[in-house]
Assembly symmetry: C2
Homo-oligomer: 160 residues x 2
């Protein structure tokens, strides 16, 4: 395995490792626990689950590896804060969407060749990429793993 392959493996393992940890925490929470606030007056676990699902769903077009499965999550969970009256899916549907989106993502990411990890993502122009070649898929995936870790530290507070 050369250094290029190693980096791609580390990025994929970092991301899928956090998804797997998050899955265990989320699955261990009852619907009632998940609907609770991570700390008094703060976001609910349900909001964070919707938020994370929307962000991961948006990785598919951002990385140029697929279309969005759940664009309907953006309005209630990405563009707006928690506790609005916006229509939103229930907890069971959110749990299913979370798994579905990450299954697609993991499958698509696992199929990338090492070189493809170093290609630009779709939010950066060819011109900018020539100047900033680190704005590649690898960078996005490691960044999203960090975003997930941030909210996972909060979801873990919902455990009794």
């Amino acid at each position: 395995m050369d250094q290029k392959q190693l980096s791609a493996k580390i990025a994929l393992d970092t991301f899928t490792g956090q998804v797997s940890r998050a899955g265990k925490v989320i699955d261990a929470l009852t619907d009632e626990q998940l609907a609770g606030e991570i700390s008094p007056g703060r976001n609910t676990g349900t909001y964070l689950l919707g938020h994370l699902t929307a962000v991961h769903d948006a990785m598919l077009p951002l990385l140029g590896i697929g279309h969005r499965a759940h664009p309907d999550l953006d309005e209630p969970f990405l563009k707006n804060p928690d506790k609005t009256d916006l229509p939103k899916p229930g907890i069971t549907a959110l749990r299913t969407a979370w798994k579905e989106v990450n299954d697609i993502l993991t499958s698509k990411l696992s199929a990338l060749t090492p070189d493809q990890w170093y290609e630009r993502h779709t939010a950066v122009s060819e011109e900018d990429f020539a100047k900033e070649p680190h704005r590649n898929r690898l960078n996005v995936v490691i960044g999203r793993a960090g975003h997930l870790a941030y909210h996972l530290g909060q979801l873990a507070l919902l455990k009794s």
Copy 2:
């Protein structure tokens, strides 16, 4: 910049980016806020600051780039849970240690050559590294950035 250099840059930027974000959150908290619990009955911000400082301090020998500056933090912040009667530094000393440890780390990591990022860390034997060549410095640094993100999501809850 070749792919090996790009990966090293992404790992370093990922780590220093999280340290910088954490620094802003911690600096914005008063001592009283930092001494509070992230959620009722959970860890205090002070404990998390000591914990993160101990973990980052231990990265120096783990990565083979330096000696520990604060091994005294392990007992109260790593080997034991929060709210013990163990002797521990005060908040001002912890704030200083956090900055000092990350300054040393950032300086040492910045001085690594791209090839050195792909060398084994000291917790893996030569034999195991031959079988698992992804157990390198790059992997450790990205992993610790994720660990920091996890607790940063919790520290952010201390803001008023």
